[in-house]
Symmetry: C2
Subunit: 346 residues, 2 copies
DNA sequence: GAATGCGATGCAAGCGCATTCATTAAACGA
DNA sequence: TCGTTTAATGAATGCGCTTGCATCGCATTC
């Protein structure tokens, strides 16, 4: 009866050491640097650990080691696919380095975000990512003071100087407009989600305008519809744009996939054949986009990649490698079936 | 120069104590139980803490207190709305108790799930939730051994005896079938995602059959289509079911919303008017379901509620309250516009 | 005015683990 | 065969914080 099996307390390294007839130092080494321990002893220790159901307690470890192997991520909400995807990718990338993710949601509230960041620091996270949010100026001062590597994604900080992973919204919409121009479209319309307080959307519009301007074309006001966010807004937007006076657009650029889906459904309701009668593009490549009939031509700002890059950056920072402070990934065109050459018309 | 401002090391309670002219005990009390400290002293301590940018280090706290205020959650993937929603709700519910969420993804792999659970325990989580996954038998032994409260959601354990929060799939589909029967439908079809290794789907089918049987009706084999998961499968399924010999179903029950969306789109493509010509139902109430035209009649197994309940259960366990071991929430019918009385036919 | 009580505070002992340093045993070379 | 290097291990210390217990000062109370 050298071991008190009926003792409710969880096993500690001490207990394992006693059971294996070694010191706690050896137990620690057997687990963390197995090659520094004689094979026979190591096996004995691991066997004892297994028998006692011992799992090293990270708090003690963190204290002694001065790191937690926990990374924090603060996001607006988990309910949106783009963020969920990024977080999922980060989780996977961190897992390869035995780093676990602590998550906090800000609900789009800068104050909550700041609070979450503070919580993360308290938890002793080794690294921190803030997703999809323009942080309050000064938010990162405490983070910097603690020398905790951090990164923001899906949008850059207004005051600059923060490491960030994202993509260029204007360039992305330049690309998608270019795609339509190359197909021969001359008159395009655009359906937008609200631009108020959202520089990303403003940039998207600018990207479209810029590409059109290169061909001496423009976006007529009546072909530009800014509404809400969602499928119904897409439907309404399409009616608005197509019912405008003057030459009808042969292509509609939507600022996100839900709008595009709405536009697509409405076009079909109106008896138009997509893409022969009308080309439609989205943005995001949400999972449903590929499933539609016809499948939506859209752009994929690879959110998984953003997550991976952000995690990778933080990991390399943890390993002491300096890396560039701003990474932009190129969104890629997913050329499916809602775009085609415009029908010849007299 | 009583404080070394230029010392890179982060401030500790010690430093705050010195700056405020008190002991670390008082610092701790000022933060954790402010009423046990004289107001003047408390203010002095908090001011010193703020000045030094001190944030208590959770590892030390966890060690001394024997709890971490961290809860772990293991999910198959963040990329699916149902899980993301549950996690989001849990996060919010835990946040009210100053508990932060540590997440791990299993990628639907029982071994990874087990690994994640072990990681969570190592991190010293105070509570643990496993979402949407039938755990390997014995998985929870270590958890139980450590007396860590846990709960599984969105499915019950085969070996039973585990606390769980979810809903009764059979009852849910009984309800939705009942809804159609009450509208007067006599011939219904069903489109299913794969039933293999997925008891939840089997239960859904059983629920439909049970409700039909109560009216002396049945589900004809040719009106039952089991395919893949997704919109295209829904389209294909609908064609299959409607092209079968014999009386055409006037209503189609789909085992999830994506299948229903596919069926809806296909019905419209076929020139059918939904719901007049054909009623269609889904399940899950994914966010897009409400946006379609016509909006999808479906059932909402309130995943946010599941998350909240799971978190609430764990919190009450942490507070020492015994609670029922199995909670079933009633999924609710979201009666939108894809169901109606069947058209009279001769 | 002295005894009593109580609130406010400090002291010090850990919490569980990693790690430095010293020690011992083993392996090696000559 | 003996000194010397190397590998394996243990004892002891500290990471940053909480908390039981002892202490002190002050306001009650008789």
């Amino acid at each position: 009866m050298d071991v008190n099996k009926d003792l409710p307390r969880a096993a500690r390294a001490q207990d394992v050491a006693k059971a294996a007839g070694v010191s706690t130092a050896t137990v620690s080494r057997a687990v963390n640097s197995p090659d520094k321990v004689a094979p026979a002893v190591r096996d004995r220790v691991l066997a004892a650990a297994a028998a006692l159901g011992w799992l090293p307690h990270a708090a003690g470890s963190a204290l002694a080691r001065k790191r937690t192997s926990i990374a924090g991520v603060v996001i607006p909400t988990l309910g949106q696919e783009v963020f969920a995807t990024q977080v999922g990718a980060m989780q996977a990338a961190f897992a390869e380095h035995d780093i676990t993710l602590l998550i906090g949601c800000s609900n789009y509230d800068p104050d909550q975000a700041a609070q979450q960041v503070r919580t993360m620091l308290t938890r002793g996270v080794d690294a921190l990512a803030v997703l999809g949010q323009i942080p309050k100026p000064g938010l990162f001062e405490v983070v910097q003071a603690r020398r905790v590597p951090y990164v923001i994604t899906y949008g850059s900080a207004p005051d600059g100087g923060h490491p960030c992973v994202g993509f260029d919204n204007a360039a992305a919409f330049h690309t998608i407009t270019r795609h339509l121009l190359d197909l021969g479209h001359k008159v395009v319309g655009m359906i937008l989600q609200p631009t108020l307080h959202n520089e990303r959307i403003v940039a998207r519009l600018a990207g479209v305008r810029g590409a059109l301007a290169e061909e001496g074309l423009g976006l007529r006001p009546q072909h530009l519809c800014e509404g809400e966010y969602g499928i119904q807004a897409g439907r309404k937007g399409l009616r608005h744009v197509l019912n405008a006076d003057g030459p009808r657009p042969s292509a509609i650029i939507c600022s996100n996939d839900l709008l595009a889906i709405g536009a697509l459904l409405e076009a079909q309701t109106m008896g138009l054949t997509v893409p022969q009668d009308l080309s439609i593009t989205g943005f995001d490549d949400i999972s449903i986009a590929a499933e539609l009939d016809p499948a939506l031509t859209t752009m994929k700002a690879d959110n998984a990649e953003i997550g991976r890059l952000a995690a990778g950056y933080l990991v390399s920072r943890l390993q002491g490698n300096a890396t560039p402070s701003e990474v932009l990934i190129p969104p890629i065109l997913i050329n499916r079936s809602t775009t085609a050459q415009p029908r010849k018309r007299s």
